[in-house]
């Protein structure tokens, strides 16, 4: 991955971590339940990714801000309340913005709350880092999650519906390939991406070992 060097290397790495090296779906295998459930079209994937990112940002911000105030013993309960509140806010907002979008995503918006990526990031990162670092990391994680969902969703939509963003690709005689629309298709496509990412990762590791760490990542 081309990595333009900026003045703030810490922040850039913090941002990049979520997109590639610690991609929540492809590398850390977190948040798979919503990732598999809604990723049957590109639009659904994007909307789910963005909504999750918003919840992640909001929850991370608050948890990082109050990380020294919330006692360790009740932190998980506090995180869950905070996350659930943001999910509810997103739920109402989407409902108010567009009934159509809400009907398409309705049940899945509430499922953001069970996304272990969000609780995981709150527990592993937001509760231990400054607000600024946390937010940069959360943006990266959110982008990584959205990207992963989009990659899975695009393939499933193209193979399942024969469309991309609703635009038909294969003409009117395309027969819906139901397995890719249904949950098994999510597992199949996700596993293919995992194989690809693992292969790339291995190749890069080998190259990095051969060149004695010429690559920064």
């Amino acid at each position: 991955m081309p990595a333009p060097k900026h003045d703030a290397p810490v922040s850039l790495d913090t941002l990049k971590a979520g997109v590639w090296k610690e991609n929540p779906v492809f590398i850390m295998l977190l948040g798979l339940c919503p990732a598999l459930a809604v990723s049957n079209t590109a639009v659904n994937s994007l909307a789910m990714g963005l909504a999750s990112t918003f919840v992640l940002l909001g929850a991370s911000f608050l948890i990082s801000l109050f990380r020294n105030v919330i006692p360790k013993q009740v932190r998980i309960a506090s995180y869950i309340i905070i996350i659930a509140t943001f999910v509810t806010v997103v739920d109402y907002t989407i409902h108010a913005l567009s009934l159509e979008l809400y009907n398409a995503l309705g049940a899945f918006i509430q499922l953001i709350v069970v996304n272990c990526m969000i609780l995981g990031r709150c527990e592993a990162y937001a509760s231990k880092h400054r607000v600024s670092t946390t937010m940069v990391n959360a943006v990266g994680m959110g982008a990584g999650f959205t990207l992963a969902l989009f990659l899975v969703g695009s393939i499933r939509e193209i193979l399942g519906f024969g469309t991309f963003f609703g635009i038909p690709l294969f003409g009117p005689d395309f027969q819906v390939w139901a397995v890719f629309i249904l949950p098994p298709g999510g597992f199949i496509v996700l596993s293919l991406w995992l194989v690809l990412f693992a292969a790339i990762q291995r190749k890069r590791d080998r190259m990095a070992a051969g060149k004695e760490g010429a690559y920064g990542s």
Binding site: P71, I80, A84, T85, L182
Partner: protein, 288 residues
Amino acid sequence: MSVEPTSHTPPMPSSGRLILTLAIIAMLSGFTVVLVYQVTLDPIARNHREALEKAIFEVLPGATARVNYRLDDGGLRPVSDRDLDEANMFAGYDKEGRLVGVAFEAAARGYADIIRVLYGYSPERECVIGYTVLQSAETPGLGDKIETDPNFLANFDGLDMRLNVEQTGLKHDIEAVKPGAKAEPWQIEGIAGATVSSVAVARALRENANRMLPLLIRHLDELKKNPSPTSFRRMEGEAPAEPDAYTDCLTPCSRLGRTLALHSLETVVGIVEGEASAEPDEAKGEIV
């Protein structure tokens, strides 16, 4: 909050502090949720009203005005737009003020969730004259054909809904049959690959028609001579009745409760309470 940052040091904070922290967080959360609920209440209600209005005119071709009614054993009662949730029947009138038909909302459990449909009934022809899906979470590509499949939609043009002689129910119950097996005007030809969804639609119509049409017959004359259906807002200030069983008006607390319950499902396996235990079981297959 002026508390010492003792959280990272080993000694256990007092229970009072733990309770206080959680209480404050919960209070702030509750405040936020109620605030958002209040702000979004009107836009959400407006969205629903617009969607419903569009659907009503869609299932009652030729209608240009509507009046909302609550029809139950207690009789027929007009409902204002403000209390739209209480209405379970919508009468459509054309420009001359003649009754075009009546739209009913029917619901039944489908494959994924409750399917809510709106159908238009013509008392004159004693059959269905329009059909549309208000809400469904059926599987994309299979179950959602109940909204899009032209062959399936054709079922509802003239679907027979005659009453029996005693006027207590349908003469022939609406039923779903296998694709290609439709022989009678009261049968609905199902969709291959979406049996559960098609059967659910048939059940929704059957149950609703059996309950509502006998009631409707008794009040038909009242509906027909409705004086000025063009102004629906004149009925504001009607006495409220108990809410409709199918209305999906969740309070902010129950919504938060549901999200929390969902969370506990994932994180604290075993400690599941409240609405989570009422989650539907979706183990059945959907293939013919």
